[in-house]
Symmetry: C2
Subunit: 370 residues, 2 copies
């Protein structure tokens, strides 16, 4: 057997899996987790109106969804106060990041990101043959000005920034992001991942400027809206970018149940506010748990909290492994500098109770072991 049939840069790809799912870990372990706090899903769930609509939609799932995503796009446009022609629905932000790379990245093109930033973006850049340049985090955030300088020097097609940052939960103010946008090189597009915008302080997302062809902003129903399984994200961008998404996307890629669920979810802002309040309570509880264990939590604008385990990456890895062994699904950053942390998703109290019980034990075991 040979790989010569594949496109050369595809044949040369490594086998990367950005995130092993908790189900795969459960299969490998042979038993389920007791707390699911690793993937930044919202165990507070989606709006009950969305759930009811999705249950009804199950019976109608013999129909293709509307490939124009008209109702959902219109509802998002109304919510954002921008024309629908500036919105593109995708199979989660991940799907849109893949299309973005297809649209902008030819083999050899430079793309600038941060070591430890979203690995699924890197996965798509590499799959399109991009030349990925990873800068270090600075003070647990992406370093906006160095990203810009590097992009200018490398004539980068894309810069990736998450705001709030994943995996750390840190954030830049909208003013700071706006200054970065103003300084973008003309040939560079800012991939601004705002997956966690809904749980961030007001002003974290700069005002929308949909005329700017150098910025694509990405939002999702997977986080605060509690619809990770629905696989619905969207991009906000200039018309030429939206039209180009339309030239390359899988028009029938969006599932009907998710499309309908997201449509109802975005119109239930009262529920979203309650979910965001629940996330905030969970953030404070996780932060308090860090303190009560003698550790420091990184202040977070996202629906998770990174806890600084106080030593090096090997120690934090030992804490993580201890939690997993105690049936608590959490994750940790792997990149140098931020690898001192574990990352705990905001979730329901029953899950956080399990974490509260097991975290001191995992810490003690790690301290004994290392």
């Amino acid at each position: 057997m040979t790989t010569r049939r594949f496109v050369p840069h595809i044949a040369a790809l490594p086998h990367l899996v950005p995130f092993v799912g908790p189900e795969a870990m459960e299969r490998a372990r042979g038993r389920p987790f007791r707390a699911r706090l690793g993937a930044n899903e919202s165990s507070f769930g989606p709006s009950p109106k969305a759930v009811a609509a999705m249950r009804d939609a199950a019976l109608e799932n013999w129909k293709y969804s509307d490939p124009e995503n008209y109702d959902l796009t219109s509802a998002i446009a109304t919510y954002l106060g921008v024309p629908a022609s500036h919105i593109m629905i995708g199979e989660g932000i991940d799907g849109l990041l893949g299309l973005t790379c297809m649209m902008f990245v030819a083999p050899g093109d430079a793309v600038v990101t941060t070591d430890g930033a979203y690995p699924t973006f890197n996965f798509h850049v590499i799959a399109h043959g991009g030349r990925l340049i990873r800068l270090p985090m600075r003070a647990d955030r992406e370093d906006l000005m160095t990203l810009l300088d590097t992009a200018r020097r490398e004539r980068a097609k894309l810069i990736y920034v998450s705001n709030p940052n994943s995996p750390m939960g840190t954030w830049w103010t909208g003013d700071e992001i706006a200054r970065m946008i103003a300084a973008l090189p003309p040939e560079t597009v800012l991939v601004l991942d705002e997956a966690y915008a809904d749980t961030a302080p007001a002003g974290t997302a700069p005002p929308l400027d949909v005329a700017n062809p150098n910025v694509i902003r990405y939002r999702t129903f997977s986080k605060a809206y509690g619809l990770a399984g629905a696989r619905i994200g969207y991009a906000i961008a200039s018309r030429d970018v939206i039209e180009t998404f339309d030239k390359v996307r899988n028009h029938y890629g969006i599932n009907r149940v998710g499309q309908i669920g997201a449509y109802h979810a975005i119109q239930d802002q009262a529920y979203l506010a309650s979910a965001v309040a629940a996330v905030d309570r969970a953030r404070r509880r996780i932060s308090d748990l860090a303190s009560s264990n003698g550790l420091t939590a990184i202040a977070s604008a996202a629906s998770f909290v990174a806890i600084d385990c106080g030593r090096d990456g090997a120690f934090a890895k030992s804490v993580l492994d201890g939690l997993l062994a105690r049936d608590v699904f959490v994750r940790k950053p792997a990149a140098s500098g931020i690898d001192r942390c574990i990352r705990v998703s905001c979730g329901v109290d029953t899950d956080l109770d399990v974490f509260a019980d097991e975290f001191p034990r995992a810490l003690a075991a790690a301290r004994t072991a290392l």
Copy 2:
């Protein structure tokens, strides 16, 4: 505004929409269709067990789906009697066709298909910069030997064949497909779209030979399984192909509700048999309606029937327009030769009743007009 930022072959893409959805047509018309018989969805619906599981799954839709699609892949592998390592789940066959083009088609690479064959495949070939070579249909089928000869001459990366054929419903026997497979040039992969395999006579699909690196077969839950809205298809292929899908796919692209629905659907083969029987009854009814209107239906192995309107493409287009104006959603082939037909999906009797009423009127109007 400029498009110079996009990858050159992307910037040069035309704006193609392979299939305008019925919802978009309804919005343009300002009123709903009375019969939905155009997209080869199954209005017989999915297994009640799948519906029940999807309703339950709605409440759990805050969780990401298992990115390995382990349970579904295992159930498909068991059903097919092949190892799970030869199965890849995708966002419908469409999603898998897009990835296939990404994997095999570099700008300028030749791809051979048939004029009038699946336009979504062409869409993806073009989006990856492929050089699309379209041969004529012969006797309302894809012309296997000429496709082969052309692929050999052009050193094509891919040949596309649908069996049963869409949009005509015709089919080759498994033996004939097997002979084509045996004659494939070593550098060419056969994209064998078996979306309608479930409603075809036994022996239409050749035996699976998952070791063959030159054949990728595509199946779906959108047709006989009645789950078009779920967006779940799968590819059956050699391990190197499956592993390469895994290197480029959107790992979290599959929605949780659809994943669970398909898992239950494939295990309810008794229901599938009843749905296939219902499709067969509808095929005969559509064929009888053609006869009673003095026309001929093309014998169909698929979940639709092409009706030869007996004159040229302009006449058939007039019949189609008359049906649409009478609130009957059907479609028609556009390619020369097969454009004399309209295509009617197998559906529930209430929908076919509307078609039965309106078809003679649309025919009469077309005969008057032309």
